[in-house]
Subunit: 285 residues, 2 copies
Amino acid sequence: MLDNGWFYERSFRNTFSMGWKVKKVLHSEKSKYQQIDVVDTDAVGRLLLLDGKTMVSNLDEFVYHEVMAHIPYMVSKNCKKVLIIGGGDGGVVREFAKHESIEQIDLVEIDERVIEVSKIYFPECTSALDDKRVNILPQDGFAFIKSKKNEYDVIVVDSTDPEDFASGLFTSEFYTDVYNALTKDGIMMNQTENPFLDEYDVKSIYSNMKKAFENVQSFTAPMSIYPGVFWTFGFSSKGARATHLIDAKRNEMEALQRDLKWYNMDWHKGAFAISNFHKRKIGLD
Amino acid sequence: MLDNGWFYERSFRNTFSMGWKVKKVLHSEKSKYQQIDVVDTDAVGRLLLLDGKTMVSNLDEFVYHEVMAHIPYMVSKNCKKVLIIGGGDGGVVREFAKHESIEQIDLVEIDERVIEVSKIYFPECTSALDDKRVNILPQDGFAFIKSKKNEYDVIVVDSTDPEDFASGLFTSEFYTDVYNALTKDGIMMNQTENPFLDEYDVKSIYSNMKKAFENVQSFTAPMSIYPGVFWTFGFSSKGARATHLIDAKRNEMEALQRDLKWYNMDWHKGAFAISNFHKRKIGLD
């Protein structure tokens, strides 16, 4: 896995790479589903790898986890029941759990070993997994979502790249299943790749989202450990606009955001004012 | 320079690297000041390297060049005379030259070979260098700026990282010289590095800017070819706020921004609503 003490992740088309100097390999195992490694690096601290792809690092885990939870929370009229598909590291759960009004958080992670390894090496991410509102469901996300109708207020698709089994998480069929599993004011959040490398055709991902949802918007936040770093995310709803924050939640968030590492309400509103490049790449101009 | 057909740039502390598969080395020379290379890559097209550091690529040159020019143009009350220190590729000049009301654009680039090489390999960047408002001054930026008082409406410091000779471009002494060279409504723009890797102490850079300027603000734009990609930029003024766009310029910009690749006025305003992480890293929270 290492090359002269460095770990490199090459992009899908093998034209670009990012590498980190590794101090120590902390963990390696082959689970029923994938290769799981944890390495300790100088630049980003501990780094979780699934099948040789960077997933979570100490340095920047808060970015992804905060934006995926607090953006939909602040826009959802009635955010009581939340589903996270994937996300076995627990970081998105941790952020939702900061809101006392949320009653139920379901985490559907097919590979229980990701959760167990994260508990050992990323305890700051898994800290809310024993919250009594959290249900850990070791199931296949595709089958799970098909069985649910009008049930969740927010669904976060915490997926890897659209390759192999994860490619199904980027189809209009899947987005339609998510739509149907959402309540009438429901919101879907998903990661939608890097538009500069654009190795997975970001425009087609958004086209699929638009086939299922009335309102599709996009924003960016940096993922320092993902190839290309400049990362786009989708916000899809049955009508609610991403920059329409719920007034009644502002006081709660004013207090909470002092302790958040990335999210604040001003950033939230500004993040959806996207560049021409971003609009054109996702076909939303 | 190449390793099995790849070019790698390692970060300052040698803990992180980014690499590009190279199709062909198009140019290599040692000028009086530095090593100049141009390579053709699969991922980012042509890539200009100075002393082995990525400077400009076909893929994303428009990001840096547009934000450095159009942000200060839209905020400056009287944007007639512009100075660019560095920036021999000509990209920032090209963007300023799109505004007819600008009367003079001075480009102080110490290494004339950077300009000549850019003319050959990046003609889309150098396209405005023969505009009659443009003066190319092959001089040392430090000495030049000291000789100027109350002269420029906008000064762009288009610099490399704070190492070796360029480290002087990040000192409070230099920022004070820039301040004095600016007119009373003047604006300085500069690149202020990646705050995740934070190899050059972003907080101290902003501290130095604040010693010279009444108003210092920051925004981010992605530099896909720079280490860490998530890039911060400084906007410093004698009082003008970065999100206060001049109403009289809106019609002109509405028309122009349809043809821009990155900049639009909504993005401009949103970009200054920064994350908690960004605020804390630059000491502006």
